[in-house]
């Protein structure tokens, strides 16, 4: 038994019980496939520009129906919803798998929950089959937005997703607040995606340029609900990705501590090292519970769901940043080399932390949401328990 495989108890909502077997099967199958195809060697080959691992993983994911799993049955999905997404992102994060999964899966779930039926009918089956990749803004609900002139959009912002994305989701507004969300397709000269160089070798960020770009659809968002719903799913995805990744790199590091000998004994036998290892595991375990809370309330679409998602993202990404940094240090000299894995996870952690929304802003939002909910007469013990 390794730490990485311990299943922590969840809060056991109805949906989860219903789909427990499906989710476990999905989880196991993903773990097996990714362990085979997305192991350390494969990841390094991809980082060194020698393979198209991202396309390979995407292809397998499509064949095995991972993109469809969370979606309602009428779109070809297994309806495992946020619970299934948690399992998916945890497994992908564990292996630091490349590919536009966070963007595509979050956008798909979002569209299935708030989108007009015509858009759902047109795009969800394509996403479910893996034929369509989606790009979303790196900052959801803040940051640059496109401006709307007549029937076209102009402007630029950075998006999370691959350069071959077939669908782009972008915020539209006057510059201060987001007024609407647009769906766009890449088109020569007026909608272009240019890959940007970033520290994290396992994800892609592109600069989106729009010059009088036509749009497929524009979803007005006067209350900000639509934007918040997208943020909810991206937040939960990043949290799950972070905890899966943190579990794996900390388990690998603990194995290293047991084998590395100095002063005539495994360095894991030194108390200071033991304590650091435990601190890592403890922080992951704590955040798992918070994520489970976020997933359950998202699945039930309860009024506090956005609050929990925000807290889960902030907490999990910070824990991952802490764990991955410590994993570098616990490896000693080799932790600072390209050849070993800790830096891959440290870079992924720092990107996760910076994506979607600033963690301080998320906590401010959660505090405001908590205040609003308690003013409605709910006590904190009633929230989600």
């Amino acid at each position: 038994m390794t730490i990485a495989n311990i299943r922590l108890p969840t809060s056991g909502g109805d949906d989860e019980l219903m789909y427990q077997e499906e989710i476990e099967a999905l989880s196991d199958s993903m773990a097996r496939v990714l362990t085979d195809e997305c192991d350390s060697l494969a990841l390094h080959a991809y980082m060194d520009g020698k393979s198209d691992l991202d396309d390979q993983v995407w292809k397998r994911a499509s064949e095995l129906g991972w993109m469809a799993a969370a979606l309602p049955e009428r779109f070809g999905g297994m309806n495992v919803g946020p619970y299934g997404l948690e399992a998916l992102h945890t497994a992908l994060g564990r292996r630091a798998a490349p590919g536009p999964f966070v963007a595509t899966l979050s956008a798909a779930q979002w569209l299935s929950e708030i989108g007009p039926e015509e858009l759902q009918a047109e795009y969800l089956p394509l996403i479910a089959s893996g034929q369509l990749k989606v790009a979303i803004p790196v900052a959801v609900g803040s940051g640059p937005m496109l401006s709307h002139t007549g029937s076209t959009l102009s402007g630029q912002l950075d998006v999370l997703g691959s350069a071959d994305a077939g669908l782009i989701i972008a915020p539209v507004g006057s510059g201060q607040t987001v007024e609407a969300w647009a769906l766009l397709k890449p088109a020569t000269a007026c909608v272009t995606l240019s890959p940007q160089e970033i520290w994290d070798p396992t994800r892609e960020i592109c600069a989106l340029h729009c010059a009088s770009a036509p749009m497929i659809a524009l979803l007005p968002d006067p209350d900000g609900n639509i934007g918040r719903r997208l943020q909810r799913h991206v937040a939960l995805a990043l949290a799950a990705d972070s905890l899966g990744a943190a579990s794996n790199i900390s388990a690998q590091t603990i194995d290293y501590l047991k084998t590395r000998v100095q002063f005539g004994r495994p360095i894991a036998s030194f108390q200071a090292i033991k304590h650091r290892a435990v601190d890592m595991i403890a922080s992951i375990a704590m955040q798992r519970h918070l994520l489970a809370q976020g997933v359950e309330s998202a699945a039930a679409d309860s009024p506090d769901a956005d609050m929990w998602a925000a807290l889960a993202k902030a907490g999990a990404t910070e824990a991952f940043a802490f764990v991955s940094g410590d994993c570098i240090q616990l490896h000693g000299g080799v932790g600072h080399t390209w050849e070993f894995d800790p830096h891959i996870y440290a870079k992924r952690a720092r990107l996760n932390e910076a994506l979607a929304a600033d963690n301080r802003a998320l906590r401010d939002f959660a505090a405001t949401a908590l205040a609003a909910i308690t003013r409605q007469g709910h006590s904190t013990t009633e929230l989600g328990i």
Partner: protein, 404 residues
Amino acid sequence: MNLSYSKEYDDYREELRAFLAANWPLPDSLGDLRERTAEFHRRAAKAGYIFRHIPVKYGGGEQPLDFLQSEIIKEEFRRAGAPREPEVIGINRVIPVLLQWGTEEQKDFFIPRTMSREFLWSQGYSEPNAGSDLAALRTRAELVGDKWIINGQKVWSSNAYKCQYMNALVRTESAPRHLGISYLLIDLHQPGIEIRRIKQITGESEFCEVFFNNAEAPADWVVGGRGNGWAVSRTTLRHERSGFRSVNWLDTILRRIVKLARETIRDGKPAIEEPHLRREIARVQARLYAMRYSTYRDLSMEAAGEPSGDYLLTQKLYLTDTIHLVERLTRDLLADDYLLMSPGEGRDGLKGNAKWIYNAFHSLKIAIAGGSSNIQRNVVGERVLGLPRDNAGVGGREASGMDQ
């Protein structure tokens, strides 16, 4: 503690300012930046402002120990933007060792050309199985006739691929652990040495593995006597007050962070108006002040001939933790840019914010370089607090890393 300088030192400062105004920058007609820097250093050494620990006969400044002058020199060089003494292995590690332990032949041969940077040095201490536990090192040198024959491997030797010489710790005696180690100078350009660069997480490859396969060194290139390598390697630069160096560096970083915080606009106002950020900046600033005044106090005590306190030993730990705080602050401030900046092929040519982020990743190594934080805590626990050494699998003394 009187924090102001006396008139004597104020006059010294004025003289130095006049020197700097007259000698830096030098006109382009004197050559490229490297040549102008070398010429400036020659003049500064002659005037006693740099290489103060090195005798004049080797081209040094040869000055008596005076920490206050050293501090003034650092401040004024920084103010004038003048190039400081290069902080490289040759100057900082090898020359002090040679001055204290070297034979006249060794000093004459190595010191002047190390100062002129003709000789570049790479340090060969760590090995794959001897990191924190350096005394476990296994690279051997055997005396055969008038040569040492060297076999083994070193790792983490920065810049070995572009250096001429290595200062190495090798095992020459049958005595165990640190007792059997000698400090040996080795010419890296020979058939018995293979150097392999190691790529780091920042994308550069400055670290090296160095393999010795019947490599050779002259018998008289041992420094300080056979089996004495451990003591020799612990020679520190007497004039080195790393306390000040770190404090000045942190000070510069903090000023840049404050500047960045003022210039970055978030939610329509300067980031520096955010309460959380202000708290974090204040935290770093408080630590900086604590370090600065601890260093002054330590210095004052030493200048007064009193035994200095334990600040120096805990300083590295404090510094390491402070640097981590600075890294987090950088991350907070550069949030969006952090996503996007990439290492490229290393540090050269990085501009603006990209350089910050590079530094942030680089700062992670500070907790390891120069002795991991865990070993540092052992050192402090045992030397300062008198805590008993760890029980061991292999003898009590050795297990804690304290081989003295």
